[in-house]
């Protein structure tokens, strides 16, 4: 194993998730199997613009919210 492949632990939508590092938002969204066009991501309370997913590195302990639109009044 590459020395860089150290596991990082994230909190995604309130649940702990371990992923091999290094990791980006783009990698996380792909790992979760989500359609990138239909979600929005917040990292440590900051919006992550879709255009920057690949460039946004994740760090151990990051808290992420991934949301989409559902039915509502």
């Amino acid at each position: 194993m590459d020395v860089l492949s150290k596991t990082i632990t994230l909190t995604v939508n309130g649940e702990a998730l371990g992923l091999p590092g290094p990791q980006t938002v783009a990698g996380l969204v792909a790992h979760l199997g989500l359609d990138v066009r239909k979600v929005a991501v917040e990292r440590n309370r900051e919006i992550v613009p879709r255009s920057t997913y690949a460039a946004t590195a994740l760090a151990d302990g990051d808290v992420l919210e991934i949301v989409h639109f559902i039915g509502g009044g």
């Binding site: 995604v12 939508n13 979760l32 989500l34 639109f69 509502g72 009044g73």
Partner: protein, 278 residues
Amino acid sequence: MAMSSKSFTSLAAASMDSLTPTSDPWMVAGRSFNSRLIVGTGKYVDLPTTAAAIEASGAEMVTVAVRRVNLSDPKAPMLQDYVSPSRYTYLPNTAGCFTADDAVRTLRLAREAGGWNLVKLEVLGPPPTLYPDMAATMEAAAALIKDGFEVMVYCSDDPIAAKRLEDMGCVAIMPLGAPIGSGLGVQNPLMIQMIIENAKVPVLVDAGVGTAYDATFAMELGCDAVLVNSAIAMAQNPILMARAMKAGVEAGRLAFRAGRIPKRAAANPSSPTTGLIR
């Protein structure tokens, strides 16, 4: 032409053009809509029913909520697969937000997810009223407007608060007719009318509509549009009720434009009282 067009008065001829909703659009934040019915997309039994009811309603704008993706089922069908954002104007809401911070955070995510600045702000007090928390609503509205959002705001039926929200820069004022999901209809028509008369931005009755009559009544007061969710979604046949709401809104709008007769305390015969046989 066989029929003499000269038999129409100029008033009648002019009115014939204005009988279709397409000739009577309303505008919010620079966008024009022919339908004066906005529908919510919550509480339906499933997504196909949601899509069919919205189609039947004739609505062009739909409210949507922002929620966490279910990570255990990422391939589950999404609202967008059934109610296309390219066909309907999505109006993201802040339902479930009880603080200004939560509302602003939610709509920033909505803007990133959909790219839309036009939003529905609602900051609610606790059950059982879920009444608009106006102090928190104003705090959130100020933050959102500063951040470039176009805010349609759910509010109490308070003409002073409504005016203040308009002066802050909200693009539409949306007082409740009655508590959310109550189906009680417009409980305070006098205040709704005062809000309408004082407003230069569109006024929509949001919440409380129970059946088609309530939507008609709201439109007869002079509202620009009505927002309905529970009354359609929870009806025994949501698709039929959606169609009824469409008809109700159109009837109310036409009646408002037509100008109703004054109410009077005594009878007034409809047939001539002269020329009777003796």
